[in-house]
Amino acid sequence: MSDPAAAARARERVAEVTQNQKPEIPQEKEPARMREILKIRARKVDFYYGPKKVLQEVSIDIREKQITALIGPSGCGKTTFLRTLNRMYETVKHARAEGELWLDGDNILELELSSLRRRVGMVFQKSNPFPKSIFDNVAYGLRVHGIVRRGKLAERVEQSLRAAVLWDEVKDNLHKPALALSGGQQQRLCIARALAIDPEVLLLDEPCSALDPISTAKIEELLFSLSDRCTQVIVTHNMAQAARVADYTGFFLLGKLVEFSDTKTMFTTPASKETEDYITGRFG
């Protein structure tokens, strides 16, 4: 460390951030936190695009009903890793994953694809609502997985839109086109769509990067409210967001998981030098 004073000041700033900006945690959450059940376990996961090895021996524990953030500079592999969890890479030729990936007791790499994706949902960087009505967007996943009765659909759609804190804004316009909504609303719609099929895990790939600060704040609050409902893994470019939102954080660099710990420890006393350098802004 060539400038201990600067590093110390940076550490203090980050500590302030984590202490001041994390909202009050309701008491009911504490017991779940202590439980430490592992929802997803990755052991020595390698990922290849053709001959090129892009992820190296990634081993990580995702705890149930906790929010885990994956941070790191561009191209470090965090999004690639996220997308192995629901095997989104399968549309790309010559992409393959090796190693162990467990969802509870099931091998992610061998699960039937449709079932896997019902249990592990995904929200994307740029909202991608279908060119259909708001109702049909949320109902889409339900219909795919066999729920077609009108009454049941309407009930689940309302539940999901409430969970995504969007119901009040759209309840009178369910049959209007989804593309007429604002950017923040569209992203919340996509979250509702993902929630409708009751996933156990929700993967979020930089969900707020295309949104303004107010919409971002709304979505972060929303993610908190979801934590008693499902496990969340969020990739983010924004360290402050990770500090605000996540219980656990993993730092990726050049395809390797360099460090993984609870967020407070990661940002106040990181174990490795690279983590410290990244967090204090020496590179990005």
């Binding site: 989104m88 549309t91 449709s114 740029k126 889409y140 996943g141 795919v144 993902a194 099929i197």
Partner: protein, 280 residues
């Protein structure tokens, strides 16, 4: 310097004149056809059969219906295959098959329509032993097929990958994604393209000359020769009878009017769609 400025102004004028000269034929065509043909567009034209040679009056009802029959046949042959083929090119892909299919589609679309007529003659008329609506419909269908394939492919490719990923992430299978998300998203463009292609083959004469041939009466079913608007225009125009000339103008106006109407509406719809996407 003054010389260069003069050249600059001169060439601006020259090129502007070129552009106006290019627009003039369309304006002239529309105006002239209206002038010559509008007065002959009466009820009789649309409802009566052609009168025997020498008698005045009569109409082109059978030609209008015949054209409709031929277009229906062409659509049955060319549209489903074209849509599905376009889906393959866009959604399933690969390298060799798409390349070969695109090459042959573009080639087939460039083949002169009279050669397509020869093909239909060899394949349908020869085995049947006579002219028929089927043969004409087949010829027009062969012309329609490559256009629909390429058009469908183009509009499906334009659907953003993010929509497909959104459906996959919910556990949707590939075909279901295509049918419930991708095709609906590209449908407007695809349908407009089909309509434009139909308008184009509706005006084709050459491939019908020795397939559907012609018929002075109502066609008896699909395996008999059938009259069509373009062939009637041709037959009447080269005849020595003034009354037939008059009807040829009217028919020309109807044909041109329909074709231009479909083209203008389709392009406006597509242009608005493109503009909306650019703003999004």
């Amino acid at each position: 310097m003054r010389w260069r400025k003069t050249v600059n102004a001169l060439m601006s004028g020259v090129t502007a004149a070129c552009a106006l000269a290019a627009v003039a034929p369309l304006v002239f065509l529309l105006g002239f056809l209206t002038w010559k043909g509008a007065s002959s567009l009466n009820l009789a034209f649309f409802t009566q059969l052609a009168k025997p040679v020498g008698e005045t009056g009569g109409g082109m009802a059978n030609a209008i219906v015949g054209s409709g029959q031929l277009l229906l046949l062409a659509a049955i042959f060319g549209v489903p295959l074209g849509l599905l083929g376009g889906i393959y090119l866009s959604e399933f892909g690969g390298w060799t098959v798409p390349f070969l299919v695109r090459y042959s589609a573009d080639l087939l679309a460039s083949v002169p329509s009279i050669v397509i007529g020869i093909f239909a003659y060899a394949v349908v008329v020869l085995p049947m032993g006579h002219f028929s609506a089927l043969a004409g419909g087949f010829a027009l269908g062969v012309m329609l097929l490559p256009i629909v394939v390429r058009n469908t492919e183009e509009f499906l490719r334009a659907v953003p990958v993010s929509l497909r990923e959104g459906a996959f992430a919910l556990g949707t299978g590939k075909w279901k994604t295509i049918v419930s998300v991708v095709v609906p998203a590209g449908l407007q463009g695809i349908l407009t393209g089909v309509l434009l292609a139909l308008a184009r083959v509706a005006g084709e004469t050459a491939p019908l000359l020795f397939t559907a041939f012609s018929n002075h009466y109502w066609a008896q079913g699909w395996s008999q020769p059938v009259a069509s608007l373009p062939v009637m225009i041709y037959t009447y125009a080269i005849s020595p009878y003034d009354d037939w000339h008059r009807q040829a103008w009217a028919a020309g106006l109807v044909l041109l009017g329909l074709v231009l109407l479909v083209n203008v509406l389709s392009r406006l719809v597509l242009a608005r769609k493109m503009a909306a996407r650019r703003l999004a």
